[in-house]
């Protein structure tokens, strides 16, 4: 297990290097000199940047300076905000995005497992048909529509009570987080429900369920001890990539609900062509996602003995 973890971590480091390189190449393709942009840079920052990145030096040398800085965890200084370090920007805004994302994953995973199990139990009966219809809807409606609808719902809810029950936008309390994270998790929840349902239906037909019944176990015990645990396994395997999808999907939700997360900041940076922020955020997000996938894979190993012991 330790060897496996180390191997995965090493592969992760290589992947992050690839992401950093791809980011560097992509950003150097942007037409024009990064510093000659109309979003004018102050002379002070320009001097700092030229010194730091050696923008007059050949591309290969710039690349190694960039890699060196990344390795030290130094993402540089913002182009548009005087003297604000990219590290500070990430430190200020990422926790908000991460909280939102984790809450969304929590909603999606619990909801997906719950609904998926329910539809499997009520297979082809009314609850199954209703939930599966909603699932198809959840997969087919874009997240920003859900975000807009969610906000509309809050506006109506608050006007119905004549006071602000749940805040419509912004960040701060749990009530601020509730609607955005549910909206964000909805698509993934639909996907996981579908997966959980087919997984449950597959497990029901497994021979070991028949064995459990022949042993005289109660249906409840069979459901929890034998069926659920085995059916959840495939759901966990897709959780890693889904965390990635949710974190980046957070952009739209942050935009609609006016949440000061890193996603919204990234969109803003792109609009202003703030090079250091774009590069720093991309590499940081990439590393974060690689890390999440590794963590989920290792956790999976603890749950499935077949993986843990091989």
């Amino acid at each position: 297990m330790l060897a496996y973890t180390l191997k995965r971590l090493f592969a992760g480091v290589v992947t992050v290097w690839f992401i950093a390189t791809a980011t560097f190449i992509a950003m150097h393709q942007v037409p024009g000199d990064p510093l000659m942009n109309d979003k004018a840079v102050s002379a002070e920052i320009r001097a700092n940047l030229e010194a730091k990145y050696g923008l007059d030096k050949p591309v290969t040398e710039q690349y190694f300076i960039f890699l060196g800085n990344m390795l030290r965890g130094d993402f540089g200084i913002s182009f548009t905000q005087q003297n604000r370090r990219v590290n500070d920007i990430i430190r200020d805004h990422f926790p908000i995005s991460a909280t939102l994302g984790l809450l969304a994953i929590f909603f999606a995973a619990t909801g997906g497992v719950l609904w998926g199990a329910l539809t499997a139990i009520y297979r082809n009966r009314l609850p199954d048909i209703v939930i599966m219809f909603l699932v198809i809807l959840g997969i087919s409606v874009p997240s920003f529509v859900f975000a807009a609808l969610g906000q509309l719902f809050l506006v109506n809810l608050n006007s119905l009570f004549g006071q602000s029950i749940i805040p419509v936008a912004g960040w701060g309390t749990f009530w601020h987080m509730l609607m955005p994270s549910m909206v964000l998790g909805l698509g993934t929840m639909a996907l996981l429900t579908r997966l959980m349902r087919s997984s449950m239906l597959e497990v029901v037909n497994e021979d070991y369920i028949k064995t459990a019944r022949a042993k005289g176990l109660s249906p409840t015990r069979i459901f929890f001890k034998h069926q659920l645990r085995n059916a959840i396994l495939p759901v966990i395997t897709v959780l890693g990539p889904q965390i990635a999808a949710i974190t980046t999907g957070g952009f739209v939700v942050e935009l609609v609900f006016a949440i000061p997360g890193l996603g919204r900041y990234f969109v803003q940076a792109v609009q202003q062509l703030d090079y250091t922020v774009i590069m720093g955020t991309t590499v940081f997000y990439g590393a974060f996602l690689v890390m999440m996938v590794i963590i989920v894979d290792i956790l999976y190993g603890f749950i499935d003995p077949r993986v843990r012991l091989s």
Binding site: D207, K210, R213, A214, K215, G216, P219, R229, P305
Partner: protein, 340 residues
């Protein structure tokens, strides 16, 4: 005779998109203490459905028990709600299946799975149940049982898993062990070991075995009595000698012809039974074997043959045993042999 299980006129149907399949059409048999009853037949003849419906294991719907009775130690066991059925499942009747690889939960240790039965039915504590599970594994001759109990099914070989399955089914000292093709998925050498183990445990526990198989060699080795099933019906039943030496149904004869033998006529080629079993969507009005039977008569196609008692232990369902029926040489030869 000490009858433990008595099945009378069992009928099972399955509703499918294509119509209703009459999988079991009036099956009766008794099981007495300490004996082995083998139920023999080709695939799809209803032998597995018969025992699974007794255990309440067929999915309902689409399955449905439409008739008959089954009494275990004087109590009805058909169509019980799960809570009632669980009073005898795993307690009075243990069951093992064809494929041990897929019949155990892959994410639970072997020991936990055996202990689970004891915890549920005997109210044992976790440690106590696990200790008993290890003892059960030892009884089924699994080496290093205490270590093996902590392992998962994927760490076991097929033969070891079937031993573990047997250990699990024996946890509550059942009166009957139902073995649904227990050796079909195993290597020939492992097969022999498993059968040997079952015989040994039967002697020590004084338990009855219902053995489902399509392998006549296994029957000859294990069974005291045999029921031959065809198209959802028992067409011949009797002691193992009745079936092998005094076969009284053309189908049983056909099965024997199709079986290799190492005694006489080693140069004789094996003769298969031509054709295939009838479609149980529309079961035939007459004898199910009529279409494949070399001795078929006009009556066979139109009327279900009655059960004829041949000897005290031996019954067969065939028109050839009717007094008016023509004499068939093969059956006669056998009769002569029996007499001689």
């Amino acid at each position: 005779m000490d009858t433990i299980l008595s099945v009378e006129g069992l009928e099972v149907e399955f509703a499918t998109y294509g119509g209703t399949v009459k999988a079991v059409r009036g099956v009766s048999f008794d099981v007495t203490r300490g004996e082995t009853l083998a139920i023999v037949g080709e695939s799809g003849c209803g032998k597995s459905v018969t025992v699974q419906s007794l255990m309440g294991l067929i999915p309902m719907p689409p399955g449905e028990i439409t008739g008959g009775t089954a009494t275990l130690n004087g109590k009805n066991i058909l169509n019980l709600p799960p809570a009632e059925a669980n009073k005898f499942r795993g307690v009075e009747v243990g069951m093992i299946f064809q494929d041990p690889m897929s019949s155990l939960n892959p994410t639970m240790t072997i020991g936990d799975q055996i202990a689970e039965t004891l915890k549920v039915h005997r109210g044992k504590s976790d440690q106590e149940a696990f200790k008993l599970a290890v003892e059960l594994l030892e009884r089924t001759h699994i080496p290093e049982a205490s270590k093996r109990a902590k392992q998962y099914p994927f760490e076991f070989s097929g033969g070891m898993l079937q031993r573990a399955m047997i250990a699990q089914s024996l946890a509550c000292n059942p009166a009957i062990l139902i073995a649904d093709e227990p050796t079909t998925a195993l290597d020939v050498t492992i097969q022999a070991q498993i059968l040997e183990l079952m015989l040994e445990l039967q002697r020590t526990e004084n338990m009855s075995i219902i053995l489902i198989t399509h392998d006549l060699a296994v029957v000859a080795r294990m069974a005291d009595r045999v029921a031959v099933m065809y198209a959802g019906q028992v067409i011949e039943s009797g002691t193992v000698d009745d079936i092998f030496y005094r076969s009284s149904h053309p189908y049983t004869l056909g099965l024997k012809e199709a079986m290799p033998s190492n005694t006489d006529d080693r140069d004789k080629s094996l003769s298969p039974i031509l054709g295939s079993p009838p479609d149980l969507f529309k079961p035939p009005v007459g004898c199910g074997y009529c279409a494949r039977c070399p001795y078929a008569m006009a009556v066979c196609a139109e009327h279900l043959p009655p059960t004829t008692t041949i000897s005290e232990s031996h019954e067969a369902r065939c028109w050839l045993h009717h007094p008016t029926a023509p004499d068939i040489e093969e059956l006669h030869q056998l009769d002569d042999q029996n007499a001689g």
